[in-house]
């Protein structure tokens, strides 16, 4: 077990000899200089790992115990990098941690590491030590010392520890990369991605819903900077997800607002989302390019590559357009106006708008579940696709209700229901994705400048996706049946029926 100290004032090698009355041998010094890379939400750091870009142009993924899990020589990372652009096995490991988020240089640091040996009277090494000097302009200079007694020499280490007591404070644990980075001033504070509304059970519905919409709008708007900087596709995605949640909430509680206020909020939110529709379609397609490449045989690959190249250019144009909108005066003014409008006090124009939020939510959830059960009961192998899409939208609304209002209920129980719903949603989501991807590709076929090889690749993809969509379609009925089962239904009743009935007279 090593002994670790923080020295009260920066110490040099020469200071240690008179303090410990032992000969101290310098066994080398190493300058460590690197930048820490992570996604904008610090996913790597939060999972207990650290990704560093060393001054030798190596990317190293370091685990808590200091071992390198994967590495690659790639050159200095200045801008952002996606995991998929890196060599294996680093790419796969990072993909598990950051998914489609980009890596960005988050923190730069440097320190010196002196390797020392404390010798006894026989000139035998009894304790090895590392003296760390952190002398960064951003932090106060700091010296840390870690002693590692050789086996059988704990007594000597104890003597050194006692000798250092007047000038050093003992630190619990071992000095590792994470600890050193924290000493250098790294304190990642990830911005919460999930909203926390701090709702109260009896809060009037209109007040609660408006507060939630405002918070969701705020979360969406927080993505604008990353979207404009084009760090990764997640910014646009999260921008849209938060807007979609806000819109869904608005439509679910439509009757709790005055019609004027509803319309005044609904339209700007719709327009905000619309601005990024095409950008997201292109992002989704480009994110899946590895999967698409794997779907088609060798002879179609060049056509696909050409298609991706073209779509990347197209995406660039679309992104510029979106950026111009988001950075524009008109957008800024309209969103500010929207925020002001949502922030205005509740009107309480209907009796429902004053009802306690928890009760309203319970009723909403039960009626939404009921709606899915009813719609689902009419779906069979011959039902037109449009009805499946409608069911998907209803399922999504239920998901948002469960997720957004989860804080009002037992988290575990809500989580169980979300899990059950997710199975249905995944199936419906894939079904929808395949069909919208087919539509997206069909539009590309007659496009100007589309070459024969590209057309062949697109046709090939449509055929594969169509088959996949058919496979998903075959599972829809089973999934609906599972979600409408007596067991799930009972869980919904158990969790929400009681609260929905409570104070029914109010």
């Amino acid at each position: 077990m090593p002994f670790t100290f923080k020295l009260k004032k920066p110490a040099l090698l020469e200071d240690l000899e008179p303090l410990t009355c032992m000969q101290v041998r310098n066994e080398g010094v190493e300058y460590r200089q690197f930048s820490v890379l992570d996604s904008v939400d610090w996913s790597i750091w939060l999972s207990g790992l650290v990704l560093i870009n060393t001054d030798k142009n190596r990317l190293e993924l370091i685990s808590a115990d200091g071992t390198c899990q994967a590495s690659a020589t790639i050159g200095l990372v200045r801008g952002q990098r996606l995991a998929r652009e890196l060599p294996e096995p680093l790419a796969s490991k990072l993909k598990q941690l950051i998914s489609v988020r980009a890596l960005i240089p988050q923190f730069n640091c440097q320190w010196r590491e002196h390797s020392l040996a404390f010798l006894n009277a026989d000139d035998k090494t009894v304790v090895r030590a590392t003296l760390y000097h952190i002398d960064d302009s951003s932090t106060e200079s700091l010296s840390l010392l870690q002693l590692r007694p050789l086996r059988g020499y704990d007594r000597e280490a104890l003597t050194i520890q006692q000798a250092l007591e007047p000038v050093a404070a003992t630190i619990q644990g071992e000095i590792n990369l994470r600890f050193l980075l924290q000493q250098c001033g790294l304190t990642p504070t990830p911005v919460p991605t999930k909203p926390e509304f701090q709702l109260k059970d009896h809060q009037p519905t209109e007040e609660a819903v408006l507060k939630m919409i405002l918070e969701l709008l705020f979360l969406a708007r927080r993505q604008e900077e990353g979207l404009i900087a084009d760090i990764d596709s997640e910014f646009a995605h999260q921008y849209r997800v938060n807007l979609r949640k806000a819109r869904s909430l608005l439509s679910l509680f439509k009757k709790d607002l005055s019609p004027e206020r509803f319309r005044a909020i609904q339209l700007p939110l719709k327009n905000m989302a619309k601005n990024t529709n095409l950008l997201r379609d292109l992002d989704v397609f480009l994110l899946d390019q590895d999967d698409y490449l794997a779907m088609l045989p060798e002879q179609f690959q060049s056509g696909l590559e050409a298609l991706f190249k073209r779509l990347k250019r197209r995406r660039r144009q679309v992104w510029r357009k979106v950026t111009a909108i988001l950075a524009g005066k008109d957008y800024r003014e309209k969103t500010k106006q929207l925020e002001r409008l949502i922030n205005e006090p509740p009107e309480f124009s209907t009796s429902r708008s004053q009802a306690p939020i928890k009760k309203r939510v319970c009723r909403k959830i039960l009626s939404q579940y009921d709606k899915i059960q009813r719609h689902g009961a009419h779906i069979d192998a011959t039902t037109p696709d449009e009805q499946i899409h409608e069911l998907r939208i209803e399922a999504k609304k239920l998901r948002y209700l469960l997720e957004l209002f989860a804080e009002l209920f037992s988290k575990d129980q809500v989580r169980r229901l979300i899990k059950a719903l997710k199975r249905l949603q995944d199936n419906l989501g894939r079904f929808n994705d395949y069909s919208s991807q087919c539509l997206f590709l069909e539009i590309l076929i007659p496009g100007v400048g589309t070459k024969t090889a590209e057309r062949d690749a697109i046709s090939g993809l449509i055929a594969v996706l169509y088959n996949k969509q058919k496979n998903e379609r075959e599972q829809v009925v089973d999934m609906i049946t599972a979600f409408s089962s007596a067991k799930i239904s009972e869980q919904f009743q158990k969790l929400f029926a009681c609260a929905a009935a409570k104070d029914s007279g109010s």
């Binding site: 040996a117 026989d122 000139d123 035998k124 090494t125 050789l150 086996r151 059988g152 020499y153």
Partner: protein, 247 residues
């Protein structure tokens, strides 16, 4: 875990120098190695600058509780290499072994208890045929025997082989190698040739007579540390690589 004993019942044949340099080489090759200095003269311990704790000694308890022996382990200055230093009480080890009333397997059982930390245990043995030696012959997987190619050393080795025959020990454990060879001496050459004809297991690589080996006492370190490019150092490396094939 393998146990290698460095043994000769004739003194001054380069046994300790071999134990020290081979232990160092094994550690450098990645074997987690423990060198146990069983020779009360403590030359191996001296070369590695390791002293025993004052007061610690081999007692009956040492053989009964492995923890007692574990506390005597000292990490050397070199990675993968630990040492149990010699101590004066080892002079009475033979009597102690007799007192334990146990048979020749007591050392083997003791080493087994500490084996989980190591890939290789190397024993630097005192020059004698005694109860300890008999224990070593049972405990070791291989017994390295340094032999100076002279008639007297040859005779000593013959006696050892005869002892193995008489006691019905496994003679395949014996791995003799020529030590302190002076290539200029006709006697060394002739004896070596004759012995190689009689004993096929004599290792191909030999250790030359060298002042570098003697200087280990000055430097108190394995020869590689201060005479890297020299012939004797190369010879120990070659010898180790040959021994490694027998492990």
């Amino acid at each position: 875990m393998k146990v290698l004993a460095c043994y000769s019942f004739k003194g001054g044949v380069g046994k300790t120098a071999a134990a020290v340099n081979l232990a160092y080489r094994a550690a450098q090759s990645g074997y987690r190695t423990l060198l146990i200095d069983l020779d009360p003269q403590g030359a191996s311990s001296f070369y590695f600058r390791v002293r025993p704790d004052s007061g610690s000694k081999w007692t009956k308890q040492t053989f009964e509780e492995s923890d007692v022996l574990l506390t005597q382990i000292r990490e050397s200055d070199y990675s993968n290499l630990d040492l149990i230093p010699a101590q004066r009480s080892l002079r009475h080890l033979d009597i102690l072994l007799k007192q334990t009333g146990s048979r020749e397997t007591v050392l083997r059982r003791l080493l087994k208890k500490i084996s989980h930390d190591y890939d290789l245990i190397l024993l630097d043995c005192p020059p004698s045929i005694s109860r300890l030696a008999e224990n070593l012959f049972i405990a070791a997987d291989l017994i390295l025997v340094p032999v100076i190619p002279t008639p007297l050393s040859e005779r000593t080795y013959d006696q050892l082989v005869q002892f193995f025959k008489d006691k019905d020990y496994d003679r395949k454990k014996l791995l003799p190698f020529f030590s302190m060879v002076d290539a200029r001496k006709q006697l060394h050459q002739k004896t070596a040739v004759a012995m190689r004809q009689r004993y096929k297991r004599i290792l191909r690589h030999a250790i030359p007579y060298s002042t570098d080996v003697e200087r280990m006492g000055v430097h108190r370190a394995p020869i590689d540390l201060f005479a890297r490019g020299r012939q004797a150092n190369r010879a120990y490396l070659a010898l180790w690589e040959e021994i490694e094939q027998h492990l």
